[in-house]
Symmetry: C2
């Protein structure tokens, strides 16, 4: 008997056209749960080291979690993974919306895409009917046009599509995957992997249900969860203002990334705030499958020089900050348009905005000329260049072709010190949270297996702001607040537990705006729900161990690709003082930061180089992945011990 998952995984080889269904048993699901767990398992087990991320040997995994699609708030999410063309390491990105639940309704937990189609195709899944269909006529279309065409040709307006636009087709290294035109698996360039496989879309329609062990318990838990969300101020703000509600408070705190992380404040930030959006261009508040939070926006601009189509949703905080404050732009309509273009082209708004800000700093420092930039004056605050540059990146035209490589590679091409302006961790551009004001975010960036990412561990101000610790995370054993800028063992302990919890969440399909510490759903109610859905007699202990398991697997993947402890570090700029804003003069002390990273390794059961120890891997039942590299086992003793298995 299986609950919460379907026990069926589609494996598609686009080279041969073969489609098979694999059926791992319940033990497998209890160990890996879904989402990040499945992604990490298949990538670690099946990819050879050193594979070309944009070649046919890379694999692309779409995986729902054990809770994905359960009719309660914050459970819409699915994970896409592959070796990342941006970072060269473990690639993963989550998205909400409706696609994940639809895949489960069709009867599948995950899809593994292998090989490379000769000509563009899309994958169509309707319950037991799975087809690889021609997409030559769709290649080159924006996401919205392609979606419309596919729905028309299938005669079904209700199919859900995970799709790429020209950014993905053109292998922009930070191309994303879009579903419903407004939900993005944004980071790590997984849209480029789709593009490299000539896979335009995965189109899903399901008529089944997600089996639940104790369905009679769900309505009660759902009610409790909704009550918890209602009682939590951040959830209310997410509804009222969307994620853009963060603009004002981060700016006031001096950590709104501005002018490519030189400043922490934009004087006219209120113009690009969630409040401004609500008062001007907001058309409606939207949400994901079964979710009561409704943090998504749809914005519309129907007249004037720039028009914005609400079907692409509306800009998140990250988008507003990366094209806005980071580039010193305060024109909300322009930012809404930038968002729309990125969704049309399927390119990540964070990396795109960061690439433009990087170009602006290079330009102002004389490393790029107007000639280099196709006649554009790529200066901070010049709003005329934003939309053209987005086009050029997606089409890989002119300077856009260089910027489409990501700032790390672009800096190497430009040379002459441009590296200092490429603010990345593991070659992925920094999200819009300046770690100088909340250092746990920086620890999260540095230790993220996917490169700089703000969704791998909780932001400390959200659980320890002004000395308050949320009681909803007490079950983790975090009952004492830690200061925002602390670099203490207590900070790294709290960070580690929250990172493990979030890693579990990425395995289960849980949105980070749902449970604590970012939302209002208590850990207890998530566990209650998971038990009712699966029928498993499980616990926070077992689920945290699952979270640890996926972190360790992703770490092993990166080690195999040659990452070292030197990749777990922030860009230099964050170790230098902010030049403007409330935190002017504040920097992260580099030595202390490096010490805290070492302490994290030690707490995780890793060695000084960040290599997971044999004891930890075996405790986590990862014997099959031990040893990973010959140099980890010079005397062969690990192999001997692995035979104990």
């Amino acid at each position: 008997m299986s609950y919460g998952f379907l026990g069926r995984i589609i494996r598609v080889d686009l080279t041969s056209g073969s489609i098979t269904i694999e059926k791992p048993g319940e033990t497998f699901y209890r160990k890996y749960l879904g989402g990040k767990g499945l992604v990490a398992y298949y990538l670690l087990k099946e990819l050879p080291g050193g594979v070309d991320p944009l070649g046919p040997d890379n694999k692309l995994v779409f995986a729902t979690g054990v809770l994905t699609g359960v009719p309660a708030p914050a459970l819409p999410r699915f994970v896409v993974g592959a070796k990342s063309p941006l970072t060269g390491g473990f690639g993963q990105s989550e998205a909400g919306g409706f696609w994940g639940p639809e895949l489960k309704k069709a009867g599948y937990d995950a899809i593994i895409v292998e090989g490379c189609a000769e000509k563009p195709v899309y994958l169509y899944i309707k319950d037991d009917d799975i087809q690889i269909r021609d997409a030559q006529h769709l290649w080159g279309l924006e996401t919205g046009q392609a979606q419309e065409a596919i729905r028309w040709e299938l005669g079904d307006d209700k199919v859900r599509l995970a799709i790429i636009g020209t950014g993905g087709e053109n292998l922009v290294r930070y191309a994303c995957i879009i579903n419903e035109l407004k939900h993005a698996n944004g980071r790590n360039g997984l849209g480029a992997v789709m593009g490299s496989k000539k896979l335009k879309a995965i189109v899903v329609r399901g008529s089944g249900n997600i089996p639940v062990a104790e369905p009679e318990k769900i309505p009660g838990i759902r009610k409790d969860i909704i009550a918890e969300l209602k009682a939590y101020p951040l959830t209310q703000s997410l509804y009222e203002l969307g994620t853009a509600g963060a603009v004002i408070s981060l700016n006031a705190g001096g950590i709104l990334p501005t002018r490519n992380f030189n400043y922490g404040e934009l004087e006219t930030a209120e113009r690009i705030s969630g409040e401004a959006m609500a008062e001007t261009i907001l058309k409606r508040r939207e949400g994901c499958y079964a979710c009561s939070i409704r943090c998504k926006r749809a914005v519309e601009v129907s007249s004037g020089e720039i028009t914005v189509d609400p079907k692409y949703g509306g800009p998140e905080y990250e988008t507003i900050a990366s094209f806005g404050s980071l580039c010193q732009i305060d024109d909300l309509v322009l930012l809404a348009k930038a968002h729309e273009l990125c969704n049309k082209y399927s390119i990540d708004t964070i990396s795109t905005g960061c690439s433009i800000a990087f170009a602006m700093e290079c330009y102002e420092k004389g490393l790029l000329t107007r000639e280099d930039c196709d006649g554009l004056e790529v200066k901070f605050g010049n709003k005329d260049v934003i939309l053209p540059l987005i086009d050029m990146i997606a089409q890989r035209r002119g300077i856009g072709d260089i910027l489409a490589e990501g700032t790390h590679r672009a800096a190497k091409i430009i040379g002459r010190g441009a590296e200092d302006f490429a603010l990345t961790v593991k070659r992925q551009e920094l999200p819009m949270h300046d770690p100088r004001g909340k250092v746990a975010v920086g620890i999260g960036y540095a230790l993220s297996e996917t490169g700089a990412d703000h969704m791998t561990a909780a932001h400390d101000p959200l659980f320890a702001n002004k000395g308050i610790v949320l009681d909803t995370i007490f079950p983790l054993g975090i009952t004492k607040p830690v200061g925002e800028r602390d670099l203490t063992w207590e900070k790294i302990r709290a960070f580690m537990y929250l990172k493990i919890w979030w890693s579990f969440s990425d395995m289960a399909g849980i949105c980070h705006f749902g449970p604590v510490p970012r939302g209002g759903i208590s850990i207890n109610n998530i566990i209650r729900l998971l038990k009712a859905v699966t029928g498993w007699d499980t616990s926070l202990w077992e689920l945290m161990k699952a979270g640890e398991r996926s972190i360790n697997m992703a770490r092993l993947f990166n080690l195999r690709e040659g990452f070292t402890r030197e990749d777990d570090i922030l860009p230099k700029r964050l170790f230098t003082p902010l030049k403007k804003g409330r935190l002017k003069g504040v920097a992260i002390p580099e030595d202390e930061f490096r010490a805290i990273i070492s302490l994290y390794y030690a707490m995780m059961g890793w060695d000084e180089e960040g290599v997971p120890g044999k004891g930890k891997l075996l405790e986590l039942q990862l014997a099959e992945f031990l040893p990973m590299r010959e140099e980890d086992d010079p005397d062969g003793s690990l192999l001997d011990d692995a035979e104990l298995n």
Copy 2:
């Protein structure tokens, strides 16, 4: 607001006569819980390294757990701790009965006894009235006589006493502490520590209640727990046959320790079985405070050469095997008398029986003569020597004075290879479970902080017998059976989790016959109960981390006393084949055993020498105990980092 604990700890200095009440806050209790946690905290923090266990600088801690005295089954227990005069390391022993709940009713969680009285005293606690009272007239009395005298002089038949007899007074290194004349803090010689302090008894009477956060929830949970116990076969057997129910099955399995661990089978085992007891000398079945299991016996022999008084209860399995099969004795009445004598004298039945079996083997091998043994023919099977030797040990007369040192020291005194017959781990005698048939018991012996002890981690046949794993431990993430004689990473992982769980149980006051894997109470219901009692929003995760915390503290204590990885090993005999019984010819492979101990270290986050790593200690919030030894921190870097605290 505090629940489940009283927040008050008595500190008594017997040298000065001072009595103070300390009031640690809720944070302290949430971290250490009680029982083993408090014991480990005070011993590690307050004892200097190298203290004489029988000198005035040793401290004796009596500690209840956060659940002790809650009116539900399996929650009667309290822990006594001190530096052990037997092992020279971390000393701890648990007991059930009624004393622990009574201490809490009097308003205290724990008692710390310091110093040494000039003349014999006892401590009398009646709610807020705490007195150090003269006990010169009681010194030299058997436990039963002394208890009667104290009750008479206090005019209160209902005071509960934790008391010693002449074994404790005479500093027998394995003297125990007895409460209600039949419940023993049996191991580690803590009765000798009482004796060294000239403390005859701690006498308690309380009129208060144990505060419970959500009292309305307790009856429902209690009902569920009782139902779980009823449904579980082992619980039924414990009621019907007592722990002696194990005799027949262990004998059939070839692991009934016989002839000082030379054999695994006694041909006439049925004569000393629980069944035989039930049919002959059993007077009534008894139990501990609020417990429905009723595993205790009271036996009576009122006529014939030997009479046995039922007020001392009746022999447990351990007692029957250590005086019985281990010495090749099959006379149940004699064994019952041996039990009674040990309880009168307050000496541990396991170590006493083992000491006699050791002497028998020495005698048969010619290392002891009849002259050495005061004219006794100390041979296996000679039942005439058992009772005299018990007397001689308790009174430290003749050969008894040597055997009262424990077999490790006795062997050194006897010399000429006697060490081979002294079967100890960390100088404590082996309990009556032969690890050659269930290797996890041996791992438990080797890794126990208190020396060989069968109550520090679950016995594998009880959770994995014949390929079955109890679903009640699924929340630990152990869902797959491991074979009884396996030495695999899966075995050590399951062992580690169960050891952590049992360590938590020793902090909470839970009897190991209650919850899984030895009893029928599910982990879930223990967590439910703990939450209802304390009002804490806690979880199995947090509580397992507490369990880890106490293991690590006890480990640090032993490291400070000079223990090394060479002390985490079984006596040689267990690495040689059994000579008789179903497992004839079976030995534990020593190399594999050593490898598995190393793997345990690694899984625990300890180094190859078994020293807890900085990362693990800080994760467990044990910064104040880091570093423990100068050689752990040669370059001072740990101290630097500890300043992060």
